[in-house]
Subunit: 309 residues, 2 copies
């Protein structure tokens, strides 16, 4: 039995639900806020869960912000959050490289300063952030010496990069011709729908460009990669069955939960609509089935009544 | 029986082969030339085939050049070619839009002037070619009015674009939120390997970025899309069985031939190595099998001895 409406359960069943987990992992954009607007009641729900003794983790695929920047945003919007509760993909990418990259080697970043800052904190030399545009008239195809490739690059990291460009795609592809060069993508979220007629391409769009040009598959750090779940389970000794994953995206948040044996709760304030979730639940496709949450709520704030009762 | 070495056939069998086709479709880069260098003997082979009365078509996925520009290159390198023998993806994309796009609508191009020129020749209003870079500090995510979207766009065309950028990806994604907006990709060649440690991302890299961000699949004009084969068969009344497709890429050239029932000849002067072709021939995967040519030659020039005998 999946897609249970938590709001429609009896008070006893709601209490059973609350007692069924010790740890809460929650996505941020689309669950706690939309851009810079708090989703009503989300702050009170997270703060109540924490005061009930639940271990809380804010788990975001957003690679443009460091943990420090995320904590500022969380606090500003009223969440009683601490730095060690933040699990961002820029931070996790840095942890991954710390473990796997030869310390004499550098990372080339197709991404934003969020990644560079976390790599710097982890002591990993890096470069690439910011504009690197094609000069009209330049022909890198025939004049690739102009790329000035750095022979000490041992990893290519791809995250959200609003300065994506052909020189960047070509540098990444050239570095990745060396099979020993690590290839890390923070996440693969395809896009952010922003209402009618507006779509913002996501990190997945940039990762698709790099991996197609390089003809290599990256290690994906973010949701729904099992990596992020294993990291949390190991580092914090989580019991998967007593862990709840809250999210607004079937293909990242809920699938992360499914892949790691967590309980899952879908909220309808972001990407995934009820229609989509129902269609997935009727599909025979295993990947679609893995996107179907155990529970759902219209909005995280709807948990407030039975938290305070 | 596939992957027959034409050079090792007896003289009689070589004549049978030559008599088995009336039409020759040939790829350009990797078969006739490498960048600006003629592949030795390729000009004489194509000119001999033409003087034997074969109908010739130069079929290229390259969208950066118009037919006019391709004819200049072909003639310069010694090919006895005429404009109506050139089948390029920029030209075909223009033909496709002429047939399917509302004449009151415009095309937004993520690509080069080759596409714009062919669209202009076909009388299709278009824009987008050239730099359109992200200004540091700008945040299109929250300030998307700055995109200045044109309400008269009815098609997005994606080809090779060395000025690919986030504003372009976002504009394409926004135009494509309208399900009536046509979505055309000239081709999906992933990359051009340029020797050790150098890879040039191809149109496929740019198409991957746009389609992932837009979450829509394009109509692909170029090889191996069946579209290009059907166009030639219909327009020139070709007999597929008596048509030979020559190419250096299993996944585009040879597969185009396979998809349309043409005979196929792989030359080893470009992308696909003999090792790859043999591996594909042993695979059970239907897509890999479709990349295996009927015949092969080390180089197109090797056809010269039995053409002149």
């Amino acid at each position: 039995m999946k897609l249970i409406n938590l709001s429609e359960l009896s008070g006893d069943k709601q209490k059973d639900f609350l007692n069924s987990f010790d740890t809460v992992l929650t996505d941020c954009d689309g669950v706690l806020w939309l851009e810079n607007e708090l989703i009503s009641g989300a702050d009170q729900v997270m703060n109540s869960l924490k005061s009930l003794g639940k271990k809380i983790f804010y788990v975001t695929n957003n690679s443009t912000k460091t943990r420090e920047q995320l904590i500022v945003k969380l606090k500003h919007l009223g969440f009683n959050a601490e730095p060690n509760e933040i699990i961002g993909t820029a931070y996790l990418a840095a942890q991954y490289l710390k473990k796997h990259l030869d310390p004499k080697k550098k990372a080339y970043i197709v991404g934003s300063s969020g990644i560079a800052d976390e790599l710097n904190l982890a002591g990993i030399e890096n470069f690439g952030v910011g504009p690197d545009v094609m000069i009209p008239g330049r022909d890198l195809k025939t004049d690739h010496e102009k790329l000035n490739l750095d022979p000490h690059v041992g990893a290519v990291v791809v995250g959200f990069d609003s300065h994506i460009s052909f020189p960047k795609l070509m540098k990444a592809a050239c570095y990745l011709t060396n099979p020993n060069t690590l290839f890390v993508a923070t996440n693969t979220d395809e896009s952010f729908p922003m209402g009618p007629h507006v779509t913002v391409p996501g990190t997945g769009s940039m990762v698709a460009a790099v991996k197609t040009g390089a003809q290599r598959e990256p290690v994906v750090i973010g949701k729904p990669s099992k990596l992020i779940g294993s990291y949390l389970i190991e580092k914090y000794n989580l019991n998967p069955e007593r862990t709840l994953m809250i999210g607004d995206r079937g293909n990242t948040d809920i699938r992360l939960g499914y892949n790691n044996g967590f309980q899952t709760l879908l909220v309808l304030t972001g990407d995934t609509t009820m229609e989509k979730a129902i269609a997935w639940s009727k599909s025979e496709d295993e990947e679609y089935k893995s996107r179907v949450a155990d529970y759902y709520l219209s909005s995280l704030g709807d948990m407030l009544p039975f938290l305070s009762s």
